[in-house]
């Protein structure tokens, strides 16, 4: 596209023909307020906040959708525009439950921010205050339609990024609202509980089902032994959730959590490493069954199973492919099962007194812990799940000065981490961790990538793949893999997943192993992570994760000393009897 000349507020500049007025104004340093616009989504043009005046137009133009044309004369704060913006904003506020102090998104709300910027101190269009109306309750996600401004970002997220499409506008005019098929509720439709809609809601209409109260009560109960596990992606999200710059803050995070009064602060990274060992062996065993035994019942490609949103998605949409999913529980659930067996033994506490809390970047984890099969310890394996945002809110409530904390270390038995576990938080991380370990198991040598960095599986491309050819010389017992080219793929976001799984179903691809994460960017972009999310934010979190990997002493899951101890003392061997009892699971076909 050639460049064209446009005039913005009297200043003539040159921009690429066809870019939107919004983008050209951004380039020119002119900010235009938006609400329904989101960089991850298609353009809706329904909030009408970004109205601007274009010379020669009868009506105002919306900047987010309208492309610039040669010699366009744009005015972004004429009297007309200013009146229109203020009026639209007041209309949205009038239709909104303006009870900011009682809202999860107080101080992090795009509508509130615009109201402040536009100095809306009086609203002529306010009729009666809108009462709260919780329309949706599900294990991970709640919706209060009294806060909804009908921007449809959630609808577009669900459909475009996740290809789940379970929420839609229903009704017309002022009684239009976002709902599920036949008003059944998120819990009764194929919602994956991924929470991506929450992350893109400009207001507090969508939020996680909170368990903060229950966690405080457990901490305050002297009878209970409350252990907490922190997922890999939390350590690059918590600072952001507290309003600080994105950074890896593992030590401060441990100190803050300990400061809240948990009895033990432990790491989901530990069970991430465990997942790699179990899943790696499962993959090798499947390869052997197919390549050596000629077993036609064994499904390949094998897919990962740590993302509960992905699990719910496949249970609904590709139930025929469930045999392809690894039987490994997710790291959260492995941790839960071990906390009430292995850890209780190590700590000498009554497992019935153990309360397992996890801090997750994810709302689907709240759903996952409620699955009936997740009780192999004899108890509910994981009692409560808090999102990164909920943890931040507890830290703030406790008055902890996060930024000035000294780094602290995790407690023992299930607190050791490796770089391999940390990168679980980014798309491609599980694959990289698995390859680092599996390659070494079968060849006896380190994977031949410089610094163990398997670059082809990293990055934000929707679907990535790689092929690794095994050497001729293999470790004893794995000779059947000599010279075999292992084909792997990595996918994130369920819309991308659907594309890939359609190919898997049709037999169009011959991968052996696929990493699948429900959320764009992987867990670092999870539905429980700080808001906002966008490509820039996700890139920063991803950079922080790979930095953490680079500085950790152990970079391979099988090198984790506490994992070695766990196998020596408790599990005995990968895929052994105890593993099957506590660490593996099965799935359910849903329609």
């Amino acid at each position: 596209m050639p460049n064209v000349s446009v005039t913005i507020n009297g200043v003539t500049t040159s921009v690429r023909e066809g870019v939107t007025i919004l983008d050209s104004c951004k380039t020119a340093g002119v900010e235009i307020p938006t609400l329904c616009y989101h960089p991850d989504l298609s353009l809706a043009g329904n909030c009408r906040m970004c109205l601007v005046e274009v010379e020669g137009w009868k009506t105002l133009a919306i900047a987010c959708v309208t492309p610039v044309t040669p010699n366009m004369v744009i005015n972004t704060h004429s009297k007309k525009v200013r009146h229109a913006r203020r009026t639209v904003l007041k209309l949205l506020l009038a239709a909104h439950n303006v009870n900011c102090p009682e809202c999860e998104r107080n101080k992090n709300c795009e509508l509130q921010e615009l109201a402040e910027k536009h100095n809306i101190t009086f609203n002529e269009y306010q009729t009666s205050p809108k009462p709260s109306s919780i329309e949706e309750v599900s294990p991970g996600i709640m919706r209060d339609n009294s806060r909804c401004i009908m921007c449809t970002r959630c609808v577009r997220t669900c459909e475009e990024l996740q290809s789940v499409a379970v929420i839609r506008p229903v009704g017309r005019s002022a009684s239009v609202n976002i709902s599920t098929f036949m008003d059944l509720g998120l819990n009764n439709v194929p919602c994956t509980q991924c929470g991506q809609c929450i992350n893109r809601c400009p207001t507090g209409a969508l939020f996680e089902t909170s368990e903060i109260r229950q966690v405080w009560e457990a901490i305050e109960d002297p009878e209970k032994f409350v252990v907490v596990q922190t997922a890999p992606a939390i350590r690059v999200g918590i600072a952001e959730a507290l309003g600080l710059p994105t950074d890896r803050t593992t030590g401060k995070m441990v100190a803050a959590i300990r400061g809240l009064g948990f009895d033990r602060v432990l790491d989901t990274d530990f069970t991430a490493d465990l997942t790699i060992i179990e899943e790696g062996h499962e993959l090798i065993s499947r390869l052997k069954k197919v390549l050596v035994d000629g077993d036609t019942d064994t499904a390949l490609p094998m897919t990962t199973s740590c993302s509960p949103g992905w699990i719910k998605f496949i249970e609904h949409k590709y139930p025929d492919l469930l045999p392809n999913v690894s039987s490994c529980k997710s790291p959260q659930q492995m941790f839960g099962a071990l906390s009430k067996t292995y850890l209780a033994g190590k700590e000498g506490v009554d497992p019935s007194k153990v309360i397992c809390v996890s801090i997750m970047p994810c709302t689907a984890k709240k759903y996952e812990k409620e699955r009936p099969e997740m009780r192999d310890s004899g108890y509910k394996d994981v009692d409560y799940v808090l999102t990164t945002r909920e943890l931040a809110s507890m830290i703030q409530e406790a008055g902890i000065d996060f930024d000035n904390l000294h780094d602290e270390k995790y407690d023992r038995w299930m607190g050791d981490s490796t770089g391999a576990a940390v990168i679980f938080g980014a798309t491609g991380g599980v694959m990289e961790a698995a390859l680092r370990t599996a390659y070494e198991i079968v060849t006896g040598q380190e994977i031949p990538f410089e610094g163990l960095n398997i670059i082809p599986v990293r990055g934000m491309e929707g679907i990535k793949d790689a092929a690794i050819t095994m050497p001729d010389k293999m470790a004893s017992g794995f000779e059947f893999l000599a010279g075999v080219t292992l084909k792997v793929a990595v996918v994130h976001g369920l819309a991308n997943t659907r594309k890939l799984m359609d190919k898997v179903r049709a037999g169009e691809v011959d991968y052996h192993f696929i990493e699948i994460m429900a959320c764009p960017g992987g867990c670092l972009g999870g539905g429980g992570q700080p808001i906002p999310t966008n490509p820039t934010v996700r890139k920063k979190r991803s950079d922080a994760i790979y930095e953490e990997d680079a500085v950790l002493h152990f970079r391979k899951s099988h090198a984790n000393p506490e994992i070695q101890l766990l196998y020596a003392e408790f599990l005995k061997e990968p895929l052994g009897h105890k593993s099957h009892e506590l660490l593996h699971t099965h799935y359910t076909k849903r329609d």
Binding site: N46, T59, S173
Partner: protein
């Protein structure tokens, strides 16, 4: 200007005559003729039909579409029904000429949900035209093929808006799209598409047969041709009348037999409300945008009843997609009720709502929200007295 029957004349040109003539012309010449006629779309917005066809003809993209907007949802409008009932042959001929002109072989009539009983009649005409080779494969021995199917509307007023209509045809929720892209470039299933009103298509054969100069001589200035009006309300002879563009509203009312006029609503609920003092205004896009309906209110009518009625209609019919229309119409209705209830008693208190009306006109996504405040502004300005003067700002 005066009443003049062309589309509804007793003597009608032979079916297929205009099509035959069109097929002997180049596509470009057909478009040229329509463009030169200056005919503007009869569905309300008044976009020049020839310009639209030219854009669609020039657009790149396969499987171009010809869509007839027969949703006729504007309250008080029933002129398209008459055309569909009695002049379906001219409609199909006009659509076929449109198809030839833009390079399309596929037409759809999007028929108002309340008109299913018209389907057999239209289908019968279609059969006849096919049997005469005026429709179907290889029309009149050329390699041009064209056929038309009927799809039933979704029963919502907003589905008459062309992009919403297209969404509805695609099986989606009937909500207006953002423009650009315009349907001429990316319409039904992203194909180049022309959407025209029934009356627009019906007019085409006459333009082709008699030439653009003849058409230009009808009407005034850039508002050419004749136009159908559905006249209803407090009139002696309600019905559909055909007048030249540029006729005055007074001429119209005289023919329809109106004695006592307090107000006339021109162009449906979203049109213009005029008072008895404005009867010499001309029905044209420059003065009184004509639309399809003329509703007369005599002096016994309470104009606030009328206003409330219109606003209730818009509150009900807004698709709810964009903020100014979704929230604005409700506020305007509340305000109208507050005036009646004596809660608003001065012009001063009305100011924010006139501002709201202006923002709705300027900032709504589609024509519904852009025109729904017209009745509020007109009726309050022209018919309501406040201690501090008439209602307007």
């Amino acid at each position: 200007m005066s009443e003049k029957r062309i589309l509804t004349a007793a003597e009608q040109p032979e079916a297929g005559a205009a099509l035959k003539k069109s097929l002997e012309m180049t596509k470009a010449d057909v478009v040229f003729e329509v463009r030169e006629s200056n005919m503007r779309g009869r569905g309300g917005a008044g976009f020049p039909t020839g310009v639209k066809w030219n854009l669609a003809g020039a657009a790149s993209g396969a499987n171009k579409m010809v869509i007839c907007n027969a949703d006729e949802g504007e309250p008080g409008t029933f002129k398209d029904k008459l055309l569909l009932e009695k002049y379906a042959s001219k409609l199909l001929e006009g659509m076929t000429i449109g198809g030839y002109a833009i390079g399309s072989s596929q037409g759809i009539i999007y028929l108002r949900a309340e008109y299913p009983y018209l389907v057999p009649g239209i289908m019968k005409v279609r059969e006849e035209l096919i049997s005469k080779n005026f429709l179907g494969e290889g029309i009149l021995g050329t390699d041009f093929s064209f056929d038309v199917e009927i799809r039933m509307g979704a029963g919502a007023y907003v589905c008459g808006e062309e992009t919403s209509l297209i969404e509805s045809l695609e099986g989606k929720r009937g909500e207006p799209r953002n423009k650009p892209p315009f349907p001429v470039n990316s319409g039904y299933l992203s194909r180049p598409t022309i959407v025209n009103n029934v009356e627009t298509f019906v007019s085409v054969p006459y333009i082709i047969l008699n030439g653009s100069e003849w058409y230009q001589d009808l009407g005034i200035g850039s508002c050419t041709g004749t136009k159908l009006f559905s006249i209803s309300g407090d009139v002696e002879n309600p019905g559909v009348y055909e007048f030249q563009m540029g006729s005055t509203i007074g001429e119209l009312l005289e023919v329809a037999g109106v004695k006592d006029v307090q107000a006339v609503q021109v162009g449906g609920a979203s049109g213009t409300t005029i008072s008895a003092g404005e009867l010499d205004r001309k029905l044209s896009f420059e003065d009184l945008p004509p639309g399809g309906s003329v509703i007369v209110f005599n002096s016994s009518r309470n104009m606030m009843d009328v206003l409330e009625n219109f606003l209730e209609f818009f509150v009900h019919e807004s698709c709810g997609q964009c903020a100014p229309c979704r929230e604005g119409n409700v506020r305007l209705l509340d305000t109208a009720r507050a005036i009646r209830g004596g809660k608003i008693t001065s012009r001063e208190e009305l100011k924010p709502f006139f501002m709201l009306a202006e923002v709705m006109k300027l900032g709504s996504k589609c024509g519904l929200g852009q025109t729904s405040p017209n009745c509020f502004v007109d009726i309050i300005t022209k018919f309501i007295d406040f201690p501090d003067g008439k209602g307007g700002m």
